[in-house]
């Protein structure tokens, strides 16, 4: 049995290693599959579905689906792109995302994803939910308006920090991030040096007094689209 697995993504043949996910194998080959909930180093979660691909015609999340020999994968076809745009739109209208005065602007993966897909305004109606801000902690704040339920902080706190500061409560449209205390973040054992505080893809989990250390215009996605680091690494 070979230790290489051959598969095809958008008519490009590539090889991966057994046990890799589609997303990992694609990344090593310089093919960027858009993702929001996934972050290298954290257990794959598969909630945002932005990495949806068609595997032999069947939809799968690239971040959780292991590769297998002979897979034929569609990732950047029109059909898949439209599904991803729908999902990004949904994440925008579900919360309250006001990029123009969000301190994460330019470093926000959701915003960057919208730019990558050429989304200027969502096609779905805004829900404008009433959500809270938890600024109880002296160094960290949670702005629930921007949370996309990706569970990066949940996983990082549990698996990297060994703490489990975060979790989810309620279900369906009411599902929301909660902290390991009756109500407030300050009552948990979170620390500003926790890995969990650094992994938020949006501006839901922020370190206080650091917001404008890097000016707008010089931020991560201000000049290069999200995913280009993977694409550029592959083309070298």
């Amino acid at each position: 049995m070979s230790d290489r697995v051959t598969l095809t993504i958008d008519n490009v043949q590539l090889q991966g290693r057994p046990g890799q996910t589609i997303l990992e194998a694609a990344g090593e080959a310089g093919i960027y599959i858009p993702r929001l909930c996934h972050l290298a180093g954290l257990e794959p979660f598969g909630s945002c579905r932005v990495c949806t691909v068609l595997v032999n015609g069947r939809p799968q999340a690239a971040c959780t689906q292991p590769i297998s020999q002979g897979m034929v994968i569609e990732s950047s076809t029109e059909q898949v792109r439209e599904i991803r745009k729908d999902l990004i739109d949904m994440l925008f209208v579900e919360g309250n995302h006001f990029c123009m005065f969000c301190e994460k602007s330019g470093n926000c993966e959701l915003q960057a994803m919208a730019y990558r897909f050429g989304i200027t305004a969502p096609r779905y109606p805004y829900m404008f939910p009433a959500r809270a801000v938890d600024a109880s902690h002296p160094d960290i704040m949670i702005d629930h308006n921007r949370c996309i339920r990706c569970a990066r902080c949940v996983r990082a706190s549990r698996d990297l920090d060994g703490k489990e500061v975060f979790g989810f409560v309620n279900r369906g449209p009411h599902k929301e991030l909660a902290v390991n205390a009756a109500a407030r973040l300050v009552d948990t054992n979170v620390d500003v040096t926790d890995r969990a505080i650094d992994v938020c893809p949006v501006g839901a989990l922020l370190k206080k007094r650091t917001g404008y250390a890097v000016p707008i215009g010089q931020r991560k996605y201000d000049h290069t689209p999200i995913g280009s680091e993977i694409e550029n690494a592959g083309s070298q």
């Binding site: 794959p44 729908d86 999902l87 209208v93 779905y124 829900m127 979790g167 989810f168 409560v169 449209p173």
Partner: protein
């Protein structure tokens, strides 16, 4: 999970203090307990009354006048849904299908089912409860069969209209297990494969193959789980099987345990069927006494198997097998990532087979009479018989055991629903079809169904039905993945806009596109089917939608409600709009 449920039963809620205590007692982070408590409908963070009246809000109950009972409850209790009387005694809730569509309108009063509700009955219930606060005392007469059993004592009726030769077969107790134990586990699996038994829960996965995967998977322990979380609206077959054929179901579990090499079985019983629990425990105890469960079953050394009952707590998604496993593990009922599949890594990480009640009930017959008898029923791709739960506008609602491959119009004739204008096959996650499709066959290759058949007579509104089902999916989504959590809300919003007469022609394509995305991108079976009420009614009842979204003759955008748009500004300005002082119609 068991602790949380016990606290709920004893104290009427699992409040902040209880969450802290439970977390400390079982040494788990508080947020995990809070997550669990907030997930299940039958568990509450806020105090509920000593008695909780749960009125079923399913479309079938609405068609049979549940609104009248609701009004009677509102009047007498002076509260509405989601509220508790000021004295803290009685709460009123509106809940999805409780598995009694054949005797709608129905409600659960704590665990006690009440059926065929009327406004008079509702008044009477409140009057009695005010006196004794004991739901069981409301039961004045018993239903047929084991519903009258001393451990059930329920008003529920079985309504078995057509018992068939396989699933309702009684057999000789212990016979099927004896036959199975005379074979090797591999032979048992081969027998089930030869019978071509497929899962009866709706998905139709070949049972023998599932057992085979689990048997060949590595694991220090293995588990058999019986999925009795019958939550698909309009389905109630498992209720009847557990009432009348519990022994057959447990025999099926035992045979599955022998086949895959499991010593432990779990019956995951939906919270709505809690009234059957004591009875089922008694059936299990009797089987232990007779050595049909326990150590060295029927003298077979090395084959030990027992079953415990895990109660659900009001979450439709837990009928999805990986969510069901999460729930058994004491977690919120989020589906798990697949692969790995349960047969490889299921309950607590051990290889697990999850089978439907009805599937397991087919197994003894296959062992008793051989696979050929079973395979002789039904059709080539769909062998055996199938239970249908029929409700709605029909003369004879109830349970029918039919040959797979039967045409839908034959089913409608049996049930007395010849004039149906629409039939929902397979519940909300299935499809809404019209008369042009009544010749289609009920089987895995055509109209696949877990057994829910809801019939709608002349004058019923298919858009209302679709809206009712979308409410259901919005409420029952676990919220894990984006398309299901957000998409269903958006689908419902646009459907309501159309229903209110403010739709526009482009809305139909909007629904199709959005529905397709939800179907394609969702993580589990719930999201993958949740758009079906809209997608299938659009496909089969297109003209009903088109009539609602005619383009406006005057060129105005009918979706735009100018009054609503200016109302907030009017509030701030504290005077009526100068340009639009009245409604647009009067202009």
């Amino acid at each position: 999970m068991d602790i949380v449920q016990a606290v709920q039963v004893r104290y009427g809620c699992v409040g902040d203090e209880a969450v802290d205590l439970i977390a400390a007692t079982v040494s788990t982070p508080r947020v995990r307990v809070a997550s669990l408590v907030s997930f299940y409908a039958f568990v509450s963070g806020r105090p509920r009354g000593k008695v909780v009246i749960r009125l079923c809000n399913d479309i079938i109950d609405r068609m049979h006048g549940s609104a009248r009972s609701a009004l009677a409850f509102f009047d007498d209790l002076r509260i509405t849904f989601g509220q508790t009387t000021p004295d803290g005694m009685i709460s009123l809730e509106s809940v999805p299908c409780i598995g009694l569509s054949d005797q709608a309108p129905a409600a659960l009063i704590n665990d006690v089912p009440v059926t065929y509700l009327t406004s008079d009955a509702a008044h009477d219930i409140v009057t009695q409860l005010r006196v004794h606060m004991d739901p069981q005392k409301l039961v004045k007469s018993f239903g047929d069969g084991n519903n009258a059993h001393p451990l059930v004592r329920s008003v529920v009726r079985n309504n078995i209209r057509l018992p068939g030769p396989i699933i309702f077969s009684l057999g000789v107790r212990g016979e099927a297990i004896r036959k199975a134990l005379g074979m090797s586990p591999a032979e048992v699996i081969r027998t089930v494969k030869t019978a071509r038994l497929r899962g009866r829960g709706g998905a139709g996965f070949p049972t023998g193959m599932k057992w085979d995967f689990c048997r060949s998977a590595d694991g220090a322990r293995k588990f058999v789980v019986c999925n009795a979380d019958e939550g698909e609206p309009g389905t109630f077959k498992d209720r009847v099987l557990l009432t009348e054929r519990a022994d057959r179901v447990f025999a099926g579990m035992t045979i599955a345990g022998y086949a895959i090499g499991a010593a432990d079985g779990i019956l995951y019983l939906r919270g709505e069927y809690a009234y059957l629990r004591t009875f089922l425990e008694d059936v299990l105890a009797a089987r232990r006494r007779d050595n049909l469960l326990g150590v060295a079953i029927l003298g077979k050394k090395g084959f030990d198997f027992d079953v415990r009952i895990q109660m659900g707590a009001g979450a439709y998604v837990c009928g999805e097998e990986t969510a069901l496993i999460s729930s058994c593990e004491g977690l919120r009922g989020d589906p798990k990532t697949r692969p790995p599949f349960p047969a490889q890594k299921g309950y607590l990480g051990f290889p697990t087979v999850v089978n439907n009640v009805e599937t397991l009930c087919c197994v003894p017959k296959i062992l008793e009479e051989g696979p050929a008898t079973f395979g002789g029923h039904g059709s080539q791709g769909s062998s055996g018989t199938k239970l249908l739960s029929i409700s709605g506008d029909c003369l004879r609602p109830g349970i029918y055991e039919v040959e797979l491959g039967i045409a839908l119009n034959e089913v409608l004739r049996l049930a007395g629903a010849d004039d149906a204008i629409a039939v929902q096959v397979g519940g909300p996650s299935g499809q809404l079809i019209g008369p042009k499709d009544y010749a289609r066959k009920i089987c895995f290759d055509d109209l696949a169904t877990g057994g829910s058949i809801m019939t709608f007579g002349p004058g019923r509104d298919v858009l209302k039905t679709a809206a009712c089902f979308m409410d259901f999916f919005v409420d029952e989504s676990c919220g894990y993945c984006t398309p299901c959590r957000v998409g269903n809300v958006l689908l419902k919003e646009r459907l309501e806009r159309i229903r209110s007469g403010r739709g526009e022609p482009g809305d139909l394509e909007y629904l199709r596109r959005l529905g397709t995305t939800v179907k394609t991108a969702s993580r589990c079976g719930l999201g993958q089917t949740s758009a079906n009420p809209i997608l299938t009614s659009l496909a089969n009842f297109g003209p009903r939608y088109e009539a609602m979204v005619k383009a406006n003759q005057d060129g105005f955008n009918s979706a735009f409600d100018v009054r609503a748009a200016v109302s907030e500004a009017e509030g701030i300005a504290r005077h009526a709009s100068v340009i639009y002082p009245q409604g647009i119609e009067e202009r």
